[in-house]
């Protein structure tokens, strides 16, 4: 489980770490939008300049971002191949039946690859520099306006923070179960496909059993302490919007405006 980087928090004291989670969430969404507006070389240069300076500002080593990309590598490779083979237009380099490699196809494949990279790296930056519970708090605050239309924001936020809270616990549990089954002679990650599928059962069943037990324990504990939703609870850690957050937001907005000018 050491290699699993997604959703992991790396403590730090940088500008990015100290930002309000709401600001980081908004900026991330805005950035992803920008990525979809970029459509020529200059605009991609701008997008990556903004991204890379944000990463440098966070002080998290680049290695983590590369590890963050790895799980999605096959998806990216697959998308790029599809784009190259089926994208049409421009000079035709090579063709065979209804498959052809064209100038437009290659260009759009490169663009899609860059979009993938940019989006993954930005979301990795968000999760590496923000504690999961802070993200949950940020989402809750941002969704607050929806309360007016009786959307259960608090319940949703509770679900989100419980789910995030138990990711590490379940990972620990999974590691323990795997070790125990290894001690009973299971070889995880070796043998043919059929063999591999077979090893999933002794891992998943105990994991589900323990997750359900845990869930019911938590429900009982919450009930015992009189939990009810919709009571407008206050928070132990209040979110504070600082000057840095406004400045960072402003920089991204400026970058967005510039992008609109330089795109085709």
């Amino acid at each position: 489980m050491d290699k699993f980087i997604f959703g992991r928090f790396i403590p730090g004291e940088s500008w990015v770490h100290k930002m309000d989670p709401r600001a980081k969430l908004l900026i991330s969404f805005f950035f992803i939008l920008l990525v979809f507006f970029a459509n020529n070389v200059m605009s991609y240069v701008l997008v990556f300049a903004v991204l890379i300076s944000s990463i440098l500002l966070s002080g998290v080593s680049l290695g983590f971002f590369i590890k963050g990309i790895r799980p999605l590598l096959w998806l990216m490779v697959f998308t790029v191949i599809i784009q190259i083979l089926f994208g049409a237009g421009g000079h035709v380099y090579w063709s065979w039946g209804w498959i052809s490699i064209t100038q437009q196809g290659v260009i759009s494949a490169v663009y899609i690859l860059l979009r993938f990279l940019a989006i993954i790296m930005m979301s990795t930056l968000l999760t590496l520099t923000t504690q999961p519970l802070q993200i949950a708090d940020g989402v809750e605050e941002l969704l607050k306006p929806l309360k007016k239309i009786h959307f259960p924001v608090e319940t949703l936020a509770l679900m989100l923070s419980l789910a995030l809270r138990f990711v590490p616990t379940l990972m620990d549990e999974a590691t323990k179960i795997m070790d125990a089954q290894r001690a009973r002679g299971v070889d995880f990650g070796s043998g043919g496909v059929k063999q591999q599928v077979k090893t999933v059962v002794p891992l998943l069943i105990p994991l589900f059993v323990s997750a359900f037990n845990r869930a019911s324990d938590i429900a009982i504990a919450m009930e015992a302490r009189g939990y009810k939703d919709g009571l407008n609870r206050t928070k132990y850690r209040e979110l504070r919007w600082r000057k840095q957050d406004s400045i960072s937001g402003l920089i991204y907005v400026v970058a967005g405006v510039v992008l609109l000018f330089i795109r085709n």
Partner: protein, 292 residues
């Protein structure tokens, strides 16, 4: 089948910002047919230590020798089955790792993985369920219908069914009532005495250490602080307190007796039997003195 640790260091999450050393320069030997207890407070590296013994974790530097087979950082993950069959391991709360539809299938799971034939594995399951003190009509039931104590026995049977020569038990009595604890420990003792299995027991129960073990390894902050007989380990009370370890209840009781004027000339008794013999001796001496 002895186990030797040679200058073993172990790091969790090597080469990452989370790197952290869990074992420091471990050198020790566990002899054939011995009963070794490993004690130390939470986080002292006990579990990490025992997981090295069947290569669930491999030393970052140094090596471990298990019956002539060496485990180093470069040991491949393949071909470890023989080792894992010989060194059986009962994890903490082993009942949380049951998964099959019936008890019988779950107990047979290990032996089948280790290449035992279907018929023999079934025979083992029937034999072992009896040996851990369960009724044989439990075999066809789902393990999830059983009580916690029964589930734990089924899980232990599942490890024993592969017939390991060495058995590692990581806090096997945690969370059981006193009677369940006793029964499990009696079972372990029986495996040790009647079948000559090498037992390695990780525990917080000093009474069990005093009663059953012939070698004690004290761990603290990833280091072996002391190796010796229970007698040697429990003799230095200040040292134990410094390492946040308790004395067996009988020894605590003997110390309170000492404060009231009793004396134990040879050594402090570690279990009820020793205390009783010592007391009988002294009462006898005084009694005969009066008579004479």
């Amino acid at each position: 089948m002895s186990i030797t640790f040679n200058k073993v260091n172990y790091f969790y999450q090597m080469n990452s910002p989370f790197q952290h050393q869990a074992l420091h320069d471990i050198n020790l030997e566990i002899k054939d047919h011995s009963f070794t207890a490993i004690i130390g407070h939470t986080g002292s590296g006990k579990s990490t230590l025992v997981q090295q013994m069947n290569a669930l974790l491999k030393p970052s530097t140094g090596f471990i020798d298990v019956d002539g087979r060496q485990i180093t950082a470069d040991t491949s993950n393949k071909n470890l089955k023989v080792l894992r069959q010989h060194v059986g391991m009962v994890f903490q709360f082993p009942e949380n790792k049951l998964f099959e539809e019936t008890v019988k299938k779950d107990v047979m799971f290990g032996p089948l993985n280790f290449g035992m034939g279907e018929a023999k594995a079934e025979a083992q399951a029937i034999k072992l369920v009896k040996e851990v003190g369960l009724d044989s009509d439990i075999l066809e039931r789902s393990p999830f219908e059983l009580s916690g104590g029964q589930m734990r026995r089924v899980a232990i049977a599942g490890v024993l069914a592969s017939d390991p020569q060495t058995l590692i038990l990581d806090e096997p009595t945690a969370g059981l009532d006193p009677r369940g604890r006793n029964e499990i420990m009696e079972l372990v003792q029986k495996l040790h005495q009647e079948q000559g299995k090498t037992i390695i027991l990780v525990t917080h129960q000093m009474e069990d250490v005093a009663k059953y073990a012939d070698q004690v390894i004290v761990m603290d902050e990833g280091q072996v602080e002391k190796i010796g007989s229970p007698q040697e380990v429990f003799s230095n009370i200040e040292w134990l307190q410094k390492h946040h370890l308790e004395l067996p209840q009988t020894t605590q009781f003997a110390i309170s007796m000492q404060k009231k004027g009793f004396s134990f000339p040879d050594h402090l008794p570690l279990n009820e039997d020793e205390l009783a013999i010592e007391l009988a001796k002294q009462i006898d001496v005084e009694g005969s003195g009066e008579l004479g």
